[in-house]
């Protein structure tokens, strides 16, 4: 009943972005996905979240095949994500961004709103309260009424996490959650991620900040040129010969 990535391949025209990628993510853990630029990490997240269909292979989550499910149905199965290039709703406030993220967890029926029934107001207040809690959780409690585009880079990343949390996901895919963050800010995100996992969530994250990955992940998959080099514990990955080669180049390197 894990998340299993099973022989996923994906090509864009003549470019083979992913080739026979397979690995398992144990539920309730933090799994890292690393590799040099262009290794296919973001493509894989796009496939897992239903944004892109794979050319071959399939993804199983909790025994269900995500095969060719569109993104909104993948989200309905409890899979939330953030984006490497940050895709907030720019003209909305921080609070509204999170409220928009409640699409699947809120009813917001039209009829009671048209009739101005008290139940509608009650639901809206509850949802707003929950959204504020999510903002507090990522450390943006005092930014609720600020427009999303007024935030700093690191704050935008955290707001995206808050919006993803509004789905109450069981699996959270984070594409470079601490890119561009100061060390203290990254440490706060690490604490947040750990607390999410303690609450039962599963996290798959891409990150180039190796200190961060090695510290919080219990298992790491390394991709290079669209293939899996290895999957293992941080210590095993750190010592793996091919991983060192992929990152630093080989001694006989022809560069």
């Amino acid at each position: 009943m894990n998340l299993s990535v099973d022989n996923i391949s994906r090509s864009f025209g003549g470019v083979q972005a992913l080739m026979d990628v397979s690995f398992e993510v144990e539920l309730g853990t933090i799994h890292g996905l690393i590799g040099p630029n262009g290794a296919g990490k973001t493509t894989l997240i796009n496939i897992l979240s239903g944004v892109l269909p794979p050319t071959h292979g399939q993804v199983l989550y909790q025994g269900l095949s995500l095969h060719h499910l569109p993104a909104h149905q993948v989200a309905a199965l409890g899979v939330a994500r953030t984006f490497q290039n940050i895709r907030l709703f720019p003209t909305m406030t921080c609070l509204e961004n999170v409220q928009a993220g409640q699409h699947l967890t809120a009813e917001r029926p039209l009829m009671p709103r048209l009739l101005r029934l008290p139940s509608a107001g009650r639901e809206d207040r509850e949802l707003e309260e929950r959204a504020r809690d999510n903002l507090v959780r990522v450390g943006l409690g005092d930014r609720a009424s600020h427009p999303a585009r007024s935030l700093s880079y690191g704050e935008r990343r955290r707001l995206e996490i808050a919006r993803a949390l509004a789905l109450n996901p069981s699996l959270l895919l984070l594409d470079e959650p601490v890119a561009g963050m100061r060390r203290g800010e990254a440490a706060e995100v690490a604490d947040l991620i750990r607390s999410l996992v303690q609450g039962g969530m599963t996290i798959l994250l891409i990150e180039h900040n190796m200190a961060f990955v090695m510290e919080i992940c219990s298992c790491i998959t390394v991709l290079n040129f669209g293939r899996v080099i290895t999957t293992g514990s941080p210590d095993a990955v750190r010592r793996h010969r091919d991983v060192i080669e992929a990152y630093l180049g080989s001694e006989r390197g022809d560069a």
Binding site: A71, H72, A75, G101, L110, P147
Partner: protein
């Protein structure tokens, strides 16, 4: 009171057309709310107008039945058109809906039941000003409320970022078709009222230029809040009368003034005239400017 009656006697038809145009502009706002650029709403108004006119003239239906029939027919066509066409984005959607508008116009010219090029005549003038503004008020209330419902949140998320919206669980195609169909129904209703105001409806009444006018009303008034399109439609519909008041004859000057207003709004009020009145949006507008400079 007497002055008011006199004012209405002189400007009654302008007031009626402000209401109709505002309703049409609002109908387009349902699709714009989801970031869809449609030029089909004039054609939906035409479908509504012809359907209602036929119901009244040939079947002697009472006004309310004709109006609802026209609205419903436009909605059905909107639904059928929306399902294939809404996979297109941006300018491609605009082109497809534009082509649809031409199809409707050419069909109206060539069919017998629509009266051909001369149009459908003999429609009684039974739309009253209060009906137009009641419909406008209901549509505006519906729009304002819709934005706080699940559908509204979904539509605005789609406008802001489709991929992100899909990953939050928003069924993009479904919501787009819903918005498109609602917009078509409102446009059809407005067209039906127009037909019963104007004694006749002709293929020219809802052509390409009207489709563009509806878009201009939205841009000038502002697309982000329900009263934006109403403001835009009111200003630009009343403009010829205002110009006449200051001694400028109608005609090319009116178009030039329209263009200047559009240009000024785009340059200085990117969120439209409505941003002069909102409490919330000036914050967003200010930061928007700060980013650009």
């Amino acid at each position: 009171m007497e002055q008011l009656a006199q004012f209405y006697a002189v400007y009654g038809s302008v007031i009626n057309f402000i209401g109709i145009n505002a309703l049409l502009a609002l109908s387009l706002n349902f699709t714009l709310a989801a970031g869809m650029l449609s030029l089909g709403n004039a054609a939906f108004a035409g479908i509504g107008g012809y359907t209602a006119g036929i119901l009244t003239v040939h079947l002697k239906a009472p006004l309310i039945v004709s109006l609802c029939g026209g609205s419903l027919m436009a909605g059905v066509v909107g639904l059928l058109l929306g399902m294939p066409v809404l996979r297109l984005k941006g300018v491609f959607l605009a082109m497809a809906t534009l082509a649809f508008g031409e199809v409707v116009r050419i069909a109206a010219v060539n069919l017998d039941i629509t009266g051909g090029a001369e149009g459908l005549t003999g429609i009684p003038n039974i739309t009253r000003t209060w009906m137009i503004f009641l419909a406008l008020a209901l549509a505006a209330y519906f729009m304002a409320t819709l934005r706080r419902s699940r559908i509204g949140w979904g539509l605005i998320s789609i406008r802001e970022d489709e991929t992100a919206a899909a990953c939050l669980g928003v069924d993009i195609t479904y919501y787009k078709v819903v918005a498109f169909t609602i917009g078509a129904m409102v446009a059809g209703f407005a067209g039906a009222m127009y037909a019963h105001l104007n004694y006749l409806i002709t293929p020219r009444d809802f052509g390409f230029f009207i489709a563009v006018d509806l878009l201009v009303y939205n841009i000038v008034g502002g697309t982000r809040i329900w009263y934006g399109p109403i403001l835009g439609a009111a200003l630009l519909t009343a403009l010829p009368e205002i110009l006449r008041g200051v001694g400028v004859a109608a005609g090319p000057v009116r178009l030039a003034v329209n263009g200047v207003i559009l240009l000024l709004v785009i340059l200085f009020l990117p969120n439209g005239l409505a941003s002069l009145f909102t409490r919330l949006r000036p914050v967003a507008v200010k930061t928007g400017r700060a980013e650009r400079t």
